[in-house]
Structure formats: C-alpha cells, structure tokens
C-alpha cells in the first residue's frame, strides 16, 4: 500500500536531512505504529505519505514514494485526499465549519460529490463511528475525544484507503484515548483500512500494532514486527521493559499476554518493604473546604474538600472536563470560590491579592506557548524574577535540574514541545514558589524528556517543595507521585495513597499494576529483579 525507496528529505535551510535514504513497505490492511524521540522525523514521515511534505513545507526530496499506486510528491495533499485521510494532534484546529454534520459534508461538497452520495456516506460514517447523537452539535461544544472523532469521520467521508494519524490521542484523557484506539482497530480489522500512526505512549497501542516503524533520530528508519523490533530498540513501555529485564520470551505486548508470567496473587511482598510511598506531610499548605464553582451556570466544582501538606507530591486525575484545571486555578487565585473556601498557608484566597499569592504558589499552565515570549530562555526566566522584584541571579542549580542549561541562549519558541514545557516550568520556578501547580506537564513529551522531568520531580521531593499536578499520564503518576486524587463531574471521588487509589480504580491503574493486581506492585522497580 505504501512503498518508500531511497527517500531522503531535508527541510529548507536544514544542515542535514531528517529522513535519509529510507526504504519502507507498509502492506495493505496493516496497523503500523511509528515511534521515535521528539524531532526524529515521525511527523515528517507521516506527512510525506499524503504529500504535505514537501508540498506544504518546502525543502528538498529525492527517492521514490508510492501510496495506493499514486505518487504524493507529484499529486500533492489535495490530489491524495481521496486516498489518504489525515488526522492531526490538536483537536481544536482542524475544523472549518461550525456543526458536525456541516463539517462532514464540507470536504465532500468541495470534491463535487452528489448530494445523494453525501447523505449516504454521512449516514454510514456516523453510524460506524457511533456518533449519530453528535450530528447536530456545534463543534465548539464537543469534548476533545469527540472532536478527534469528528476529525476522523470527516476524513472517512472521502473513503480513503489509508488513514494517517499524528499523535491522535496525546491530548485526550485515558478513556477518550482508549475509545479512539479501539475505533481505529475496528476500522482496521473490519474495513481493511491501512492505519499508520505515531504515538509517544506506546503502552496504549502496542497490543494493536502489527508493524513497528522506528526512527533512530539520525534520519534512518527501521521497521518490523513489534516483538522483534522491541528487542532491538530502546523505546519501550513499562511492561516491555520489565519483561526484557526478567527475560520473558516471547516479549508480551499487552497485559493479557504477560499474565502467564505472573504467579497468581502477584509477588509476595514480605521480601521487600514496599510500603505506601507517603512522605509524612508537613504543615498544611493548601486547605480546600466544600469548594464550589460554576462556569456560566454549569457546575465545574462541587463540594470539594481536601488538605495538602508541605512536601507532598499529589496528582489529580479524571476525565477531561472533570474539574482538574479549575481546581488548580482556584489554588493559585485565578478563580475565586463561588461556595466554600480555599486557603493557601492559612490565608483565604478571596482576601489575598493575586500578586501576593503568586509569591507562594507557582502555576504552570497546560500550554507552554501561552507563557513564552522573550528572545532567549535566560530572558524568559529573568522576566519572572523582575516581576517579583527578585535579584537577577537565578537560584543555583535550577537550570541544571530542569535540563535547560544548554538552552539558555536559545529562542524558546524554536525548542521542542518537551523543552518548551521545561522552560515554562523554569519561568515559574524562577520565582521560587513553595507550592508548584502543574497542568498536564508531560503532554506531547517523549520518553527521554519525561524521564528528565521525573528526575526533576524526585529532586523537588528532596527539597520539601509541595507539587500538585493534574495529569492523564498514569505511568508518570505510578512512578513519581505519593498521593492520588480522582475527580469526576467536579467532585472528588477518591483521595489517598497512589497504590490504594490505583488498585481501587483500574481505569487509572498502571500497566504493571493491572498485571499483578496485588495491591502494591505498580512499576517495574517494584518487582524483585525488575529494577534497573
């Protein structure tokens, strides 16, 4: 279905090609997963399949590429649109019109498809993606998962043979992501659609994939069956890295496949004291009592009560729209309670001006782009210090702890997503707040960058800083966090040590936790012999 022969591509002005002499075959009906670090060329490879590269990006391309018998370099994305459907990472910026049905019709109208056919196809696609109930909805009122479903549906109306998706689930909550992937698998199995997608969180997709394409970062591309490839590359979800360390063969790709390796009841914990990873909390830093808040009449928080002590590392999880971000914004004083109270170090957020609160509380928003504006990373951090009337010298070790020391003179907007995320974090930490609030700190961040971030968190834990983060990243929480709070419809439905909450709520449990189900094993490090 897709054949690349000696494909080499370089972006305009780039010193070296991002894809070098690539040979690749993706057969019809395959479910191919593209992996590699940020900047290794995953998006470039995917965009070459429908001609966005080089038609949209410019640059130089050589070698041969065929997709469904057509040459995307010659035909361009428009010419390929009937054969290749493309879904992007950001659910927000893919739509042209306002309602779901109109959006589905729009591409077909532009292709001059007859009205009868349009009606038929829309009916069929809505039914197949189980979204008939969304038909008349305004797109702006949909959740992220629903939006991605609309984006998928609008490409399917053109009846492509190949579906290409660039990190389609990175901005969705675990449940939304799971549904999206199940849908893709069904389209692949039942309709024979060839699916090619990239994704950072391998654990979600490995069980579905029958081909794994690895970009090493030097322009070279390797491809093969997932099991064989995983033996050879360093990218692996927790389950696979555990299996590799314990020498399980053949490598299990899903929790189901791994079950046979695990003694019933998990490992007996008496050999090691795993305990509950809880640091005895110091004096109360944040106290929320019976907090209520609503956006334009729609309740976002209802009766939330919790206390967070000094030095605690807390994660807040829950579906999109469950109130996580609203709760964080309440803690930094960006929003004020409609009911109940929020106290930060004993002070009511309603009676303390924001200028004073932000000396104690630092909040890193979801989107680092909202923060970064200066000409260099150094300037970005200095700006925060100036605003807080602090001396210009940065706290010792901050740049190193965040891994941004080599980047200080760079232009922040040119950095990768993960690097920008850390610069944004630095821009907040430069004010040396005692409490740090993080909103989705690992969104769109690759494995290496995530590990750097986890090292930073471990260092923070040592300094006694309080860290509270809203996240969808189950594995991150399993590895670094002490306490987990689950939110649903603006209410706090669980609050306790990570192990307790994860094992009681399998939808939020780590892969290793689901495998052992013994109440204490959550990460490879918890398994005897599994630690590095």
């Amino acid at each position: 279905m897709i054949t690349l022969r000696g494909l080499t591509y370089a972006y305009p002005g780039a010193a070296r090609p991002v894809l070098r002499d690539v040979d690749l075959d993706i057969p019809a009906g395959a479910f191919a997963l593209v992996v590699g670090a940020s900047g290794s060329g995953k998006s470039t490879l995917l965009r070459a399949i429908n001609g966005l590269v080089p038609h949209f990006s410019g640059g130089t391309i050589s070698g041969d590429i065929r997709v469904a018998g057509r040459n995307p370099v010659q035909r361009g994305p428009r010419g390929m649109s009937a054969s290749v459907g493309f879904v992007f990472q950001d659910p927000e910026s893919q739509f042209v019109v306002d309602t779901v049905e109109a959006e589905l019709a729009f591409a077909m109208e532009n292709h001059g498809i007859s009205r009868a056919t349009m009606a038929e196809r829309i009916e069929a696609v809505l039914h197949r993606l189980e979204m008939s109930h969304l038909r008349h909805r305004r797109i702006s009122t949909l959740s992220g998962g629903e939006k991605q479903r609309v984006a998928l549906a609008s490409t399917l109306t053109l009846e492509p043979q190949v579906l290409v998706l660039d990190e389609p689930t990175s901005q969705l909550d675990p449940e939304g992501a799971e549904q999206m992937l199940a849908l893709l698998r069904r389209l692949n199995r039942e309709q024979g659609l060839t699916v090619v997608l990239s994704e950072h969180r391998l654990e979600r997709i490995l069980p579905y994939a029958d081909q794994l394409i690895f970009l090493a970062g030097d322009g070279s591309v390797r491809s093969g069956a997932p099991r064989e490839m995983l033996e050879a590359i360093d990218q692996a979800p927790p389950l696979v890295s555990l299996a590799r360390r314990l020498g399980w063969h053949p490598l299990p790709l899903s929790v189901e496949e791994a079950r046979s390796w695990v003694p019933p009841g998990g490992y007996v914990p008496d050999t090691r004291d795993l305990g509950q990873r809880v640091v005895a909390p110091g004096p109360v830093q944040v106290a929320v009592v019976n907090l209520g808040y609503a956006y334009g009449g729609r309740a976002a928080l209802q009766g939330v009560t919790l206390e967070i002590g000094r030095g605690e590392m807390v994660a807040i999880m829950g579906r999109n729209g469950s109130g996580k971000t609203t709760l964080l914004k309440q803690m930094v004083g960006l929003l004020q309670p409609a009911a109940g109270t929020v106290r930060v170090r004993g002070q009511d957020t309603r009676s303390v001006p924001l200028e004073e609160l932000i000396r104690i509380v630092g909040y890193v928003p979801q989107n680092p782009n909202a923060l970064l504006f200066a000409d260099s990373v150094r300037e970005e951090l200095a700006f925060t210090r100036r605003n807080h009337n602090l001396p210009a010298t940065l706290p010792a070790g901050l740049l190193d702890a965040l891994g941004v020391a080599p980047l200080v003179e760079q232009y922040p907007r040119d950095l990768s997503v993960g690097e920008r995320q850390r610069v944004a974090l630095g821009a907040i930490l430069a004010a040396e707040p005692e409490i740090v609030l993080l909103d989705e700190p690992t969104r769109g961040v690759d494995r290496e960058q995530k590990e750097a971030f986890m090292r930073y968190l471990a260092a923070e834990r040592a300094t006694g800083r309080t860290v509270i983060m809203a996240t969808h990243d189950v594995e991150l929480v399993a590895q670094c966090v002490d306490r987990l709070i689950l939110m649903e419809d603006g209410r706090c439905i669980a609050d306790g040590p990570v192990r307790e909450v994860m094992f009681a709520h399998p939808a939020y449990c780590s892969q290793i936790g689901l495998l052992y189900q013994d109440g204490h094993t959550l990460t490879p490090d918890d398994v005897p012999g599994g630690a590095r």
């Binding site: 077909m108 109208e109 932000i358 923060l371 907007r413």
Partner: protein, 362 residues
Amino acid sequence: MRNSYSWLIWALSASVLTLIARNPLYVTLIVLATWLVYLGVSRETPMVGSWRGLLRLGLVIWLVTIPFNALMNHQGEIVLFSFPEKWPLVGGPITLESVLAGAASGYALWALLFIFAAFNLVVDAAQLMRAAPAFLTQAGVVTTIALTFVPQMLASAREIREAQRIRGHRFRGWRDTLPLAMPLLTTAFEHAVQLSESMESRGLSGELTGLSSRRLRGLRAAIAAGLLLLLFGLLLRLAWVPLVGDLMLILATGILVYAFWDMGRHVRRTRYWRQRWRATDTAIALASLAALAAGLVAARWDRTLLAYAPAAGGPLLPAFNTWLGLAFVLLATPGLVLQAAEPAEPDTRDRLADLPGPETGR
C-alpha cells in the same frame, strides 16, 4: 432550515430603509419589527448572549456620540448654551437641534446594528456562506474560517493573559504588551498553519478545475483591471467628469460580472443542503420588497417625507405619514412568521426530502 435568501431580502430592505429614513418615528417602526424577529429567535440559539453584549455596546456608543455631535455642529436656533467662539471646533452655540439630530442619526446607526444582529441570529453565518454563489466559494470559505477563528483567538488571549498574570506581569505601559502580544501572535500563526494543513489534507484548497493556467491568469488580470476601473470611475464621478465616470463604472461592472461568472463555472462543488423556498419565504420577500418600494418612491417624490433634519432647518418634531407608516409595518411580517412557527430544529427532512438530486454549483 430557514431560507437565507428571503431573510437576506428582509435584512437588506430594512437596512436601506433605515439609511434613507433618518426620521426616528419610522426608524422606531423598523426597530420594533426587528425586535419581533429578535424575540422569535432568542429562544433557540445560544449566540444571543454575545449579540446582546454588542447591542449594549452600541447603545453606549450612541449615547457618547450625542454630545460629540452637539459640540461639533453649531447649526440651529434654540441655543442651550455657548462656548467662546475662539475655542477651536467646539466654540460657538450648542443647540437643541444639533442634539436632536445627533440622537436621531445615532439611533439609525444602532437600528442598523440591531437588524444585522437579528439577521445573524436567524440565519447563521455558515449557512449563509454555504448559500453563496459558486464563484464566491473561496471568499465564503475564508469568511467562515475567520468566523470560527476569532472566538478561538479570544480564548487564547484570555489564556495568555492569565498565564502572564500569575507570572507577576503587570500592565504599566506599552512595553508591557509584548508578553501578551507575542504569544498571541505566534499562537494565531501556528493555529493558522495547522488549519491550512488540515484543509489541504482534505482537499479543501478550492482549486478551479478544467481551467487552463493561461485562462486563469487572464481572468485574474481582468478582475484586477475591473477593480481599478471601478476605483477610477468612482473618483471621476465624484470629482471631475461624471459622465465618463459612469461609463467606466458600467464597464467595470460588466468585466467583473463576466470574470466571476466564468470562474464560477469552473468551481466543481456540490451542496449538501438544498435551501427550500416555502410560502412563508414568499411572504417575507414580498412584504419586505413592498416596504422598500414604498420607501424609495416616497424618498424620490418628496425628500422631506422620510428625512429628519432639525439642524438643517427642518421641523423639530419628526413628521409622520400614516400610509408610509403602514408600509413600514410590512417589515414586521418575518417577525410574525417566526412567532407563529415552531422553533427551528435542524431538520433532516430538508436534506432528504428531495433526494436524489445532485445540485452542482455550475
């Protein structure tokens, strides 16, 4: 689904009448007719909130312009008070007539805004764009994107404002706009790039088919020439030689109509929704056109019938002609139709009623 065309006829008729009838009594009739429409749709769309805000802003602007007009325009007999003559611009008598004239023209402008708001609520912008003739498809797509883009950018602006505030950013001078403007600019740019990638991938670049590149260049040149002729024609007409100007305008219109028509023939495009013309649409169109015709005839016959110009020596109290008033009342027909009808649900019958029947934009 409502028919865009009949409602467009109503909105245009009401707007033209508001422009030629500055008389506040007639304008009030138009405002009342529009009010009926506004009430009729306000139950069914969440967009009412944002328009309500804009209408309130319009009221404030209106109130501000009244003293402005009174200060600048010193015509009239009834002097309220005077500023020393040597004061530039504002010096001289402040008259009741100029206060009233300012109030009346501000009122008419607000009425235009109100008509525009009601029209937008009745027929949503996307629906209107879809109804645009084939040659306007590209312009329609651009406008549609702009309409969805603006609210997204407003949301980004809010997000950026919040993010900088919690970094301790305060607004003290123009230099402090950089931390807000820079992220907004780059966000808008990135968003635009992503959207255009997404559109390209779905084949939405709006290419013309079956048109040789030479002919396309010719047509584009013709459009450019037509627009230039239009500009010069207008200038000539206003300033120097009206007859030559008129001839140039006619020529320019001819060229533009031909070029757009020819381009439109080459846009391969179908329509998913067919707008149905119902009996109520006939009623709306006829009533609106009748009101418009009455107003135009009256204005042609005797300018003072519709005008209100106290500052230019006209009567202080606006005149009112009952027959003309009745003609203006016809503009209330769409509002009455709306009040009588069920709230509009997205109607699948509109789509399926007359299947199959491909309607191409050729």
